[in-house]
Symmetry: D2
């Protein structure tokens, strides 16, 4: 897949940062405030699934996923976290965990050697 160079993940991070700078949001965008803002957006995401368990609309779901990703990227920026590197590091652990049939991890078992 040849990617549109202006629609990559890296470009997304730059757009998020540029919007915040253009609007002088530094004073609002503390890690604590952005974590709270993310909880608000995840609430709206979950509202999509009331009351039937399926999204109210495809566009609505897409929009809420977008808002969650944008806030997560902005939180990562101000907290000095590389979200993709952090997620890979977590996957390194997840890949070595023993998982129970109910979808939760087996906390009684040590990490596997892989």
């Amino acid at each position: 897949m040849s990617e549109n160079p202006h629609r990559t993940f890296g470009e997304l991070q730059q757009r998020v940062e540029a919007l915040a700078e253009r609007n002088n949001w530094a004073r609002f965008h503390t890690p604590a405030n952005l974590a709270r803002a993310l909880s608000v957006e995840v609430g709206e995401l979950n509202e999509q699934f009331l009351w039937e368990g399926v999204p109210r609309s495809a566009h609505g779901l897409q929009d809420e996923i977008a808002d969650c990703l944008l806030l997560l990227l902005r939180l990562s920026q101000v907290a000095g976290v590389d979200p993709v590197a952090a997620a890979h590091a977590k996957m390194d652990v997840n890949d070595r965990r023993v998982w129970l049939p109910d979808g939760t991890r087996d906390k009684s078992r040590p990490l596997l050697d892989r």
Copy 2:
């Protein structure tokens, strides 16, 4: 920055999908369940900021950001949403919004021409 080809965003998506397949999580991983699971992780993320407004630990924050991103990617997969494309589309709108000094958008104003 030359990226490690095994540590990119695209590779992350593949690892998330592979872990779910290896563990037969398809029956658990409905969009509705994953949206709920994301709300659980965002709760843990916010717990990091109790009670002082700063993260309890740098590693803890990194870990919770990772969990949120992983679930958001998995939700996107099963819902058939390209999260980066959706976020760019939302940024196209955000860039044209009029923002108030308090950091919220001015709903009384139409989108700007840009």
Copy 3:
């Protein structure tokens, strides 16, 4: 039902306040922090329903409902809100709303006269 006078709703509010005072939690217990803490507990409540949609355990569910109520009462105290009066006032509105078959309210319709 004759209620145990030490197990009423009013007594619960007093116990919540007394615990906070005994531990000098005033500096932590701002409305903003307690709202965040409530989001953490509601995350734990929702974790009970992963991944099967039924509570992992009856006791666990009871425990999480308790934590949510306790935080909601504490938030109400520090915010100067009477939660029962506020909820009755909201029910006065809810009782006059027109509700759609999908369980959401009909925002296009005015409140009914009742």
Copy 4:
């Protein structure tokens, strides 16, 4: 304080149940759905605190506290939990816990005898 008999906590529970019955919400009001709905309302509650850490409006805060309490009561009803009894039981434990200066509990210490 002599309470208005129609504005008590007990009466509130009855109004919540009556509204749900009048609208045939039983099919929507599973414990899992109501836990999700509570997360949506707690998101709205937290939105009140963006971005300054103080409620956007006193009425807005009151309204969101009300919605959270109403959903918590409805969840308790359909889950067969007495929320006040559950909260008292949790307070019995909280009163015996050892609390750290940072406002979290000391998990290394056993419950106190009281």
